[in-house]
């Protein structure tokens, strides 16, 4: 054992691009992260809506028609459920990061808050329209 030893050849495996496909837990994580994609589409819709509103009446009507097409409705429904899913995961993680109250209480509180804001908006916007 006196001869100088070469560098120890430890085997290092590399994570490939598809690392997240290897495990159910990682897949669910990626699903959570992917909820941003339909949300991006929805934000695009909103921005286009704003733009067309200040551009001309025709473009506003075109936008309304666009929003009513079945595939856009479908995509926005997807956004809705994706956001709900993301909210669920987020609400469950939150009490672990800021452990102020018992977790179930904090989770319920967050849902209650979401529901209240949604109701308030519905009332406000419903009243305007």
């Amino acid at each position: 054992m006196s001869e100088p030893r070469q560098v120890n050849r430890a085997y290092q495996s590399q994570l490939r691009r598809n690392w997240w496909l290897k495990h159910g837990y990682y897949q669910r994580y990626m699903l959570r992260e992917a909820t941003v994609l339909p949300l991006l589409f929805f934000c695009g819709c909103l921005l286009t809506g704003l733009y067309s509103l200040q551009h001309s009446e025709q473009s506003w009507l075109n936008w309304l028609a666009f929003m009513a097409t079945p595939w856009v409705i479908g995509l926005n429904l997807l956004t809705f459920f994706a956001s709900l899913f993301h909210a669920k995961t987020f609400f469950e993680l939150f009490p672990r990061v800021l452990p102020i109250l018992p977790a179930p209480l904090m989770i319920a509180g967050q849902w209650l808050g979401t529901l209240s804001v949604a109701l308030l908006l519905a009332l406000l916007l419903g009243g305007v329209l």
């Binding site: 054992m1 006196s2 030893r5 120890n8």
Partner: protein, 591 residues
């Protein structure tokens, strides 16, 4: 072969080694300290200690009380000056740990909480839930990062000590992940390698507790003292031997035999204390030797139960309630669930005695110095003279702090004055050792390291267990001699350099065989019963102070046997008396 120069080499990264390293680093910031450990330090077996660490803490307690409990618990075989030093310094060491961040359990007002423990007349055991050793080890390990002069060599296994003219020169070690040999030259060396419980079949110890340091010193002519005293912990899990802490009984747990009867009351530990109201030094809070011996008698009389082929009695914690258990004994709940599928809040835990601790070890003086200049030993591998014939629970964690501190300081001051020894002879010796190592590597043979080790552990269990007799021990010695012959013939089949774990096991088995031999030889020579050493031979069933109020010293002879001689016990204030537990007050307490 690589050569490293350092001032102090510490062998072993458990509680004692780390405490010594920190003490040396603080004593002399200029001194280079090299800490070698065969595992990463936080894997060391200190990690598995559960119950706590003792120090006089409460107003109603006294140094005298802790002194008496320790001396009585050790059946008057402790060196009393050492015990005095220990009880006086235990508290400040626990405070040190507190100030380094150890998460000790607390009372509502924020002060330190103490619990009852076996053989202690009052509450004086500091604890961190039921993972005290774990927290002590991690606190020491993490605190050691603060000191730039502590250099760690993790996963280095020490093969031999380098000694020249009765002075330590350094150690020879192998780096596990390269197989490379290192000569580490040091002015002081501290052995802190832990116990040797793995030479027995049923034990609470981790796989690394193989007696390495004891054998290293023994082979260089240092005596092993009081090796016959091997502690059986009364509550290990059947089969695995996993430790179920004495703190369970400190909290109020009770022991039942097959018929649900609290059998300890029949063995001088009664009368029965009311359920949930444990009393110090009574019943379940008797010392470990008495409790393990009571199990043996129950087993002889057929009053033990059966758990997967093992004779067991039962630990009942149900009356403590789920909440208290989760708060005070969470690890025990986890272990019981995982390893015997029992929820302690609802059912009885099957338990049986298992080898736990070696009271004896490398002979040192009160300053941890061995007979080789510059070689120190501390912790379970050493015999500084604290535990006598039976250690009290929660004294060993305090011991490794108190004497780890002493060893570190002593080693630092020795290193300052010592001169580096001549290298040439050491070099030659190391070359020889390397050749011997090479010679161990061979082809796979019918015999194996695992087989020899298995037979050794069974022989020790049968011949040198809770109760011993002449015929059994002679048989055991003969078996060990035969195993030693087989060991000389057995090769390591693995030729690889990187993590050759078989080679390491070969060395560990060699160490274990030497230590086992010293244990049985010392036990055979002690023709009396004292503490953890109990003889059933006619005329040896009682303590015999006239002949055996002495430490045994085992010395390795050229033929590989152990020669036994004796050394007087240092008695300062407590004259030997009858050890009394249970309701009978002891003589000291009457005084």
């Amino acid at each position: 072969m690589q050569v490293l120069e350092t001032d102090i080499a510490i062998i072993g990264g458990g509680g004692a080694g780390l405490r010594a390293a920190i003490a040396a680093a603080e004593a002399d910031p200029a001194c280079r300290i090299t800490l070698l450990s065969k595992v990463y330090p936080m894997r060391s077996h200190t990690v598995a200690a559960e119950g706590g660490a003792a120090a006089v803490t409460l107003a109603q307690d006294s140094m005298q009380g802790h002194f008496e409990d320790t001396v009585t618990g050790g059946d008057w075989l402790a060196d009393q000056d050492v015990v005095e030093y220990f009880v006086q310094h235990a508290y400040e060491e626990l405070v040190n740990l507190e100030r380094w961040g150890c998460p000790w359990s607390r009372r509502e007002d924020g002060s330190i909480q103490v619990r009852r423990f076996g053989g202690m007349k009052t509450e004086r055991t500091w604890f961190a839930a039921d993972k005290t050793g774990f927290h002590i080890l991690h606190t020491l390990f993490q605190t050691s990062f603060k000191y730039p002069n502590i250099q760690r060599l993790d996963e280095f296994f020490v093969l031999d000590l380098l000694v020249h003219e009765q002075q330590i020169v350094g150690v020879l070690a192998i780096q596990l992940n390269t197989g490379e040999l290192y000569q580490i030259h040091a002015k002081s060396v501290i052995l802190a390698t832990g116990g040797a419980g793995r030479v027995f079949h049923h034990n609470t110890n981790g796989g690394i507790v193989t007696g390495d340091g004891m054998a290293l010193a023994y082979r260089h002519g240092v005596a092993l003292r009081d090796m016959e005293f091997v502690q059986y912990h009364p509550t290990g899990l059947p089969g695995s031997g996993i430790l179920i802490t004495e703190a369970c009984r400190g909290e109020g747990g009770i022991l039942l035999n097959r018929d649900g009867y609290r059998y300890l009351q029949d063995y001088g530990l009664g009368p029965q204390t009311p359920l949930g109201k444990p009393e110090n030094k009574c019943m379940e809070l008797g010392p470990r030797d008495k409790l393990s011996q009571a199990f043996w008698h129950e087993q002889q009389q057929g009053r033990t139960g059966d758990c997967q082929g093992h004779a067991v009695v039962y630990l009942d914690l149900r009356h403590l309630g789920e909440r208290h258990l989760q708060q005070r004994l969470p690890f025990i709940c986890e272990l019981a669930k995982a390893y015997v599928n029992v929820d302690p809040a609802k059912a009885l835990i099957p338990i049986r005695p298992a080898v736990h601790y070696t009271m004896g070890g490398i002979l040192t003086d009160a300053q941890c110095q061995t007979s080789i200049a510059g070689l120190f030993a501390v912790g379970e591998c050493a015999s500084v003279g604290l535990h006598g014939a039976n250690r009290l629970g929660s004294n060993s964690l305090s011991e490794l702090l108190v004497f780890g501190h002493v060893a570190g300081k002593q080693a630092a001051s020795f290193a300052k004055t010592a001169k580096a020894a001549a290298r040439t002879e050491v070099d030659q010796y190391c070359q020889q050792q390397q050749q011997q190592l090479q010679a161990k590597l061979g082809v796979k043979s019918a015999d194996s390291i695992a087989a020899i080790r298995h037979e050794m552990t069974l022989a020790m269990e049968q011949g040198c267990g809770i109760y011993r007799d002449t015929a059994g021990m002679q048989q055991c010695l003969a078996t060990l001699a035969h195993l030693q012959q087989r060991y000389q013939q057995v090769f390591v089949s693995d030729h690889s350099k990187v993590f050759n774990t078989e080679l390491i096991q070969h060395y560990e088995l060699g160490f274990g065989l030497d230590v086992a031999n010293a244990m049985v030889s010392s036990a055979l020579a002690r023709q009396e019963s004292r503490g953890a050493h109990q003889r059933i031979d006619e005329g040896m069933q009682q303590r015999n102070d006239e002949r055996f109020l002495q430490h045994s010293l085992a010395q390795l002879t050229e033929q590989g046997a152990a020669s036994i001689r004796y050394q007087p016990v240092r008695i300062t204030q407590s004259k030997p008396a009858v050890r009394r537990y249970g309701a009978e007050p002891s003589q000291q307490e009457q005084r």
